[in-house]
Symmetry: C2
DNA sequence: GCCATTTACATTACATGATATATATCATGC
DNA sequence: GCATGATATATATCATGTAATGTAAATGGC
């Protein structure tokens, strides 16, 4: 067994470590979504959630809301539009803008997600985080250990779905 | 100004958020490396560090040490080998294995990094983390705020380089 | 009213994570 | 000693982040 160098290097490789842990969490979140028959990449959820909460947004506003680059949004929108989950129109006035909004199918998917998937994900992640305390590095270590011990879907399975409602 | 939906969704999008924060940190780390004339992607540092600490490793061992997939290592090695920083040979015995080791140039780069760049990165990241306390989500928020306020290179600039020695 | 600048978005190219699969070598059962 | 399965690595493909750049529309100085 080889030691985990990223963990060992501490603050030096915190970025790499956060990224790595985030990817694992996201991958496991996707498993939970798939279990609830939500055929959607976990990474696209925040985009739909933003439209659901804030109403129609432009490409630039979506980039801000999600904290990723504008080309990233453009590409996601292609997929989501092909899948019929969002639609866009050129609003009257400034014709450079695109107003992105949820389609009926998109709203239905969000509604289903809120009911069937999101509470499970939240519970599982909250459960995962419960053990973590102390400094950030300590908390990350605790998360990594906990995640290796039991992935999210295992946690979701044994947690009574609280069914907390989403805004 | 649009609200940060990933932050608002809390545990639901923790994976996305960690990934995003990690990417930002890594990008800023790279700036610090570039400032010290270390022409190396931040993501390749742990690989070289592993070879430096643990001696020659196989592709599989490197994947374990870095916590990423084996194809990811194979691809990184292509670049590093092209750049003359690592070399590989087929060790006697099992001819499926590759023994990856630092070249002279690779060792020199690591030595220079340890002296000029790594202490600065560590100080800056430690400084960044210093403000964070409380739950993981609270700490992440603190990090995001702190990072928006002053990127790593600004922190490194105002921190006296402690020059802590690396193993 | 026209030209320069800015803004909003799209496109391209690249990096780096993943999985799936091919290939070469080793190990094993018989 | 050969077929079978396991293991180490390479390759192909996809997803999704970035930066750099192109294009169309809006804005502002004169």
């Amino acid at each position: 067994m080889v030691t985990d160098i990223v963990r060992e290097l501490g603050h030096l490789t915190l970025g790499t470590r956060l990224k790595r842990l985030g990817e694992r969490l996201q991958a496991q979140t996707q498993v939970l979504l798939a279990q609830a028959d939500i055929g959607l990449p976990a990474s696209h959820c925040p985009l739909l959630a933003a439209l659901d909460r804030l109403g129609p947004l432009s490409v630039g506003e979506l980039a801000q809301a999600m904290g990723i680059s504008q080309p990233g949004i453009s590409r996601m929108l292609e997929t989501l539009q092909t899948d019929g989950l969002v639609a866009s129109r050129r609003p009257a006035g400034d014709r450079r803008l695109r107003a992105i909004e949820l389609t009926k199918a998109g709203r239905a998917l969000i509604t289903r997600s809120k009911r069937l998937a999101w509470p499970r994900v939240e519970s599982a992640v909250a459960d995962l985080c419960a053990a973590a305390s102390g400094s950030l590095l300590e908390q990350l270590s605790a998360l990594e250990v906990a995640l290796a011990d039991a992935p999210l879907h295992a946690r979701a399975a044994r947690i009574p779905a609280r069914g907390r409602k989403h805004a």
